[in-house]
Symmetry: C2
Subunit: 222 residues, 2 copies
DNA sequence: CCAAAAGTGTTTAGTGTACACCCATGC
DNA sequence: GCATGGGTGTACACTAAACACTTTTGG
């Protein structure tokens, strides 16, 4: 009944939006770390590390995020736990989290010696089963953004509806009707107009919004 | 960077349908195990055990299921991983699975010395954070059954639409319009009429169905 | 005035829900 | 015939999508 020899690691899939190098349009990126130890030396892998004794699982993921990118995230969620016995000679069980980083923050991320950002849809062949994990995380992100207001975690506190829509379009990689998107976004009642508009555009100035900080829980409504 | 002292366990929330002892209606049940060791000796807890070196995570969950109930399951899915540092003096990280067991099988489950079945909505105060886990699993089951055809895993291969509906009603604890349920169930195209009916009822004999074994994937359709 | 994006209105198809009604069986 | 659940039809409200149209800015 010994379980000796099983290593427990926490990895994190970190998503951020940046311009696509060729088309210039906003696209999904994620940072990877080059392995400097066997197995899979030289291969790119998800950032992560062994779980510390006194560390929350989510704290470990947050530390990885901070260590590899110098950034913090407003959104961190557990993705899945992977642990096929054949992942490597020394068996490793990985508890994987995913995080969203704001675009303005991601722009000033520090790229360490062995850290590099890749287009989420063009990652190279990774170490271990990390390609599977990235695909899994992408599916979760694309699924969740359609029914949950997580797009906000890619944005600054104040934003226009066009910016919010651009996040959805970049993640889902498809054009969205601006008129219908506006109505659906406003129908959620989570958006609050700031009363100000964004000037300096070469067209009609769009209104600025922020997300509701404390929406009244249903059980407390009159 | 040592992670020594962290124990990795796999637990399983096992759901089955049985008659409610008071109302007689079908209700959700789950088996719990009485702890025979510190910490929390005497308390009820989710069945589980340490992960073996050469064991798949899901295999460990399946073994737990077999060991505690003598049953097998057609549906097993990873739920979440829990691991707050204060869960016990000896830190334990639990990877939790959930499983569905067919009603006819559950009826002949073996109840071991320290195993007892409880109504899913009336579990006692459990060891560790297992109450949280049970609530989490219940939410997942109730959420998933509304958009995924998992109700089938509670049923025998052949069943009537009334039986399928009864599963939904028992899990969600609410009455469902039979006419609308029928239409929605048939609209999924996953149900195949066997051509036979169930006789012996005191009313019009209902048609029997089975679930489509190999629905043609979309990419293969002409 | 023109271009461009913000923002509004309208039409259409589809879907979930409530409920009236007929059907087939045992008693 | 009658009770009971199986099974069908239908009207209504709500939602998503497509798209025409008006508004407001910079140049």
């Amino acid at each position: 009944m010994k379980e000796q020899g099983i290593e427990l690691a926490v990895s994190t899939v970190i998503f951020a939006l940046r311009p696509h190098p060729r088309s210039g349009e906003t696209a999904l990126w994620l940072p990877l770390v080059r392995r400097i130890r066997e197995p899979h030396v030289g291969r790119w892998a998800l950032p992560g590390g062994p779980l510390q004794c006194d560390e929350e699982l989510s704290a470990s993921a947050r530390h990885t995020l901070e260590r590899t990118t110098g950034l913090t995230s407003n959104y961190l969620e557990q993705l899945y736990s992977f642990g096929a016995p054949d992942r490597s000679p020394q068996r490793v069980v990985s508890i994987v989290y995913w995080a969203l980083v704001r675009a303005d923050e991601a722009a000033r991320a520090i790229d360490g010696e062995n850290v590099e950002w890749f287009l989420a849809d063009e990652v190279p062949e990774l170490a271990f089963d990390h390609n599977t994990i990235v695909t899994y995380a992408l599916n979760r992100l694309r699924g969740k953004i359609t029914y949950s207001p997580i797009a906000r975690f890619f944005l600054s506190p104040e934003f226009t509806l066009a910016e919010l829509r651009a996040v959805h379009e970049a993640v889902l990689r498809k054009k969205i009707d601006p008129a219908n998107f506006r109505r659906q976004a406003l129908a959620t009642k989570t958006l609050v107009p700031t009363g100000t508009v964004l000037t300096g555009t070469s067209h009609r100035p769009p209104a600025l919004y922020r997300f509701q900080v404390n929406p009244t829980p249903e059980r407390l409504r009159p």
